[in-house]
Amino acid sequence: MGLVLAVLASSHVACREPQSQPRWQAAGNLTPRRGGALRFSTADSVNSLDPAIAYDEISIYMTAHLFDTLVGYAPAMPGGAGGAATVLEPRLAESWQLSEDGKMLRFHLRADLRYHDGAPIVAGDFKYALERVLRMQDSPFGSFLLPVAGAEAVRQGRADHCAGIRVLDDRTLEFELTRRDASFLYILAMKFAAPLRREVAERAGAALRREPLASGPYQLVSWEEGQRVTLRRSPHHWDARRGWLDEIVLLENVPRDVELLMFERGELDVCYQPPAPGYLWLHSQPAWRPHMQRTVMMNAFGERMNVTRPPFNDVRVRRALNYAVNKEHLAVLLHGTAEPAHGILPPGMFGRDDAIAPYPHDPGRARALLREAGYPDGFAVEYATLTGDEPRKLATALQADLAEVGVRITIRELSLPAYLAAVGSRDGPGLSFTSWTQDYPDPSSFVDLRFHSRMITDQASVNDTFYANPVVDGLIDEARGELDRTRRRDKYLSIEKILYDDAPWIWGYHRATVEVLQPYVRSYQAHPVWVRDFSYAWLDLDDQGRRVPASEVTTAPVSERPR
């Protein structure tokens, strides 16, 4: 009884709560200034700060700030589309050249590059870091380097050094590739390709996951595991455009509804993807709405089918399910943060065929196709999804849509490890929720991994539809080696068309992220690759470096305001 009364009482108080509004305001500075600590949180925890290991989204929040690479992405600016931040620009390398045949790539490093400890960054450190990734059995990144000559030999332990990575002098580094590869530069922008000094790595050993050698704009101050990670601006970083904040603090294991309450109280500076009720609440508050930021991210969601097993081995069944699902409904259920999909490539992605419209919602056509395929009364099948409010809500909506055409699904909720094991297995569930987020902003990061037959394994298959089409395989390989952008785009357009017709997924939607910022957080936008990258962000504080309470904001310039 006490429980219910307490809950009712709190809701009663809440109903009378005045409208919510920011407690602090921007001080009104027009140019970026240094200072302040930016605090944000996550419901999960950081796994590792070793860039050769960190592959989960949360760890990447930190490695994005700690490490710099030869090339990197141009800044994502507020209001800009996600695509703007997917252009590569020079970072630790000041320039690079590609040979005529497209197989030799030579980088020239900037002068006077330093790690956070003051030691110089030299070309040999890149070679050491990449060879370390190839040698490490537990690094998920080794396979990304296979286009490099000699990489396979190091990976299998047949060679100590990778013949295709050559150090010409302290400031010149050369890569030799076995084949032309249009996406190789993107791979070098991933954080595992950051430089690492041999002595540091060998001295630290496994402790490197807690003692990163920072080459980026921030360095690690402390990591109380499961509680918080604190970063501080690195004194030796070369790039004046990045590193305005004195400190970046990530609080770990903060539940998402608590995150929103902490944000409203001003204990956090950014609130990422508030859960649906919180999102609707903030959206209903006029004072908060201008501070909500929507970013189209490079991802795809839907339902994957195992195309080797009945009933999904019949393309008519797969198309029928695509017609049966109402994608507009999904967009409503996700409060307008989703856009219906016709394939895996998200809007703004190179090689996407914007002329293809998503499968329309047409239950009549779905029933006709099912009848044609020999399922006049539909069929019953198990549907695997993840645990959580949102997957459950979407699964219930899917269940209702499919029931309309006679397909009866039993929803099975799985924890993440169980889900991954189940859907990657040949004899796992035939139909399940699926999603994909890019490693780098190139179509090869989507179609190569999810639909090339090379990625099929019996267990933990990355190609978890087990879709094998020699035509698609051929097009994928040709597109990868094609350096002419027009010809390359044409190949991806063809792949898009075939995948749309073959429908190995129920193509669902692409999801935008919503973030709410305190009014004094400036020059920040969610990043399409790193998701949360505060390298360019600054805090609009007063001259003493304090936040300005909302009531004190006047029209007078900051310096003239009475104190």
């Binding site: 009884m1 429980l3 219910v4 809950v7 009712l8 709190s10 809701s11 809440a14 109903c15 709560e17 509804d257 859960p275 649906a276 009720p277 919180g278 609707l280 609440w281 959206h283 209903s284 109402n326 409904h329 409503v332 259920l333 996700l334 409060h335 307008g336 645990t387 409010d389 459950r392 809500k393 219930t396 909506a397 269940q399 209702a400 039993t410 929803i411 099975r412 909720e413 799985l414 924890s415 169980a418």
Partner: protein, 297 residues
């Protein structure tokens, strides 16, 4: 001058029993009528049941208690949930009564004939009362959730029976203790002495003389146990025990509605107030019954 003997306050004539039974009647009618008049409680309705932003709709003529985040009718779900709560609670209360009565009567009568049996049963009562039931329920909820997550989800009926069994664990010891106390008194009564002198068997004494004389206590206990069971059922389904997801359950509606307290308070208030009403009703009946027995004495 001596004070007048304290008269029974007029308030005692308040027809608690009548009000309680009346409200119970109305709830029963609603539980039959609402599902017939409203859309099915599990029917997802995105086109008509959600705002364009995807927000649940507030109460209106079309949906008297509003809609939830899937556009489902909250009125239909509240009464479907109430029906499920009451079925489980009455089942659990009945189980508690059967166990509690049997243990209490046997222990009470055994007090003189076989003291070891009384001591054994009394200790069993004490041990059960000492169990931290809510903590055990949370443990059970975690176990059931883990089983449902990576294995097969429980069926609706199976989950309901499991829950009723778990809940009867809470109910029986109190009933047994009260019944034992009454049986102890009755066992020493002249009526029982006379029956024994006339050669009645212990079972016959229990059935013909002791049980009928505990019925007043039992009926009072039964109503309070149902109220207690409603609270227990709601708390446990709040924790995630009970019938699996699409099925409506008051406790889970409170659980799922609590996060909407600022934008859609009806998702919390509708099931919450229904729980308060249901529990109060059984308490009213309980108060009414107690008064009636007090007056009769």
């Amino acid at each position: 001058m001596r004070d007048a003997p304290p008269a029974l306050p007029r308030r005692q004539k308040t027809p608690a029993l009548a009000i309680g039974l009346g409200v119970l009647g109305i709830m029963t009618v609603c539980m039959i009528l609402v599902p017939a008049l409203r859309p099915p409680p599990d029917a997802v309705n995105i086109d008509g049941g959600l705002a364009s932003t995807g927000a649940p709709l507030p109460p209106s003529w079309r949906a008297p208690l509003g809609t939830d985040e899937l556009g489902r009718d909250v009125a239909a779900r509240v009464f479907a949930g109430l029906r499920m709560s009451l079925v489980i609670s009455v089942l659990a209360a009945a189980l508690s009564l059967v166990i509690g009565l049997a243990v209490g009567l046997v222990a009470g009568l055994a007090n003189r004939m076989a003291p070891w049996l009384d001591r054994l049963l009394s200790r069993a009562i004490d041990v059960t009362l000492a169990l931290p039931v809510m903590l055990l329920a949370i443990l059970a909820a975690a176990a059931v959730r883990a089983a449902a997550v990576d294995g097969q989800p429980p069926t609706r009926g199976g989950a309901m029976i499991t829950l009723a069994l778990l809940m009867s664990l809470i109910g029986w010891p109190t009933i047994a203790r009260v019944t034992r106390a009454r049986a102890l008194v009755l066992a020493r009564s002249e009526m029982v002495h006379a029956a024994r002198a006339l050669g009645a068997t212990p079972l016959g004494i229990l059935w013909r003389h002791v049980l009928p004389n505990t019925l007043d206590v039992i009926s009072v206990l039964a109503t309070v146990t149902v109220a207690q069971m409603v609270m227990a059922e709601v708390s446990m389904s709040f924790l995630g025990l009970g019938a699996p997801a699409p099925a409506a359950s008051l406790g889970r509606m409170v659980f799922e509605g609590r996060v909407h307290y600022r934008t859609a308070p009806w998702l919390l208030l509708a099931p919450g107030l229904t729980i308060v009403l249901a529990v109060s009703t059984f308490h009213l009946i309980n108060v009414g019954l107690r008064r009636r027995y007090a007056e009769a004495r």
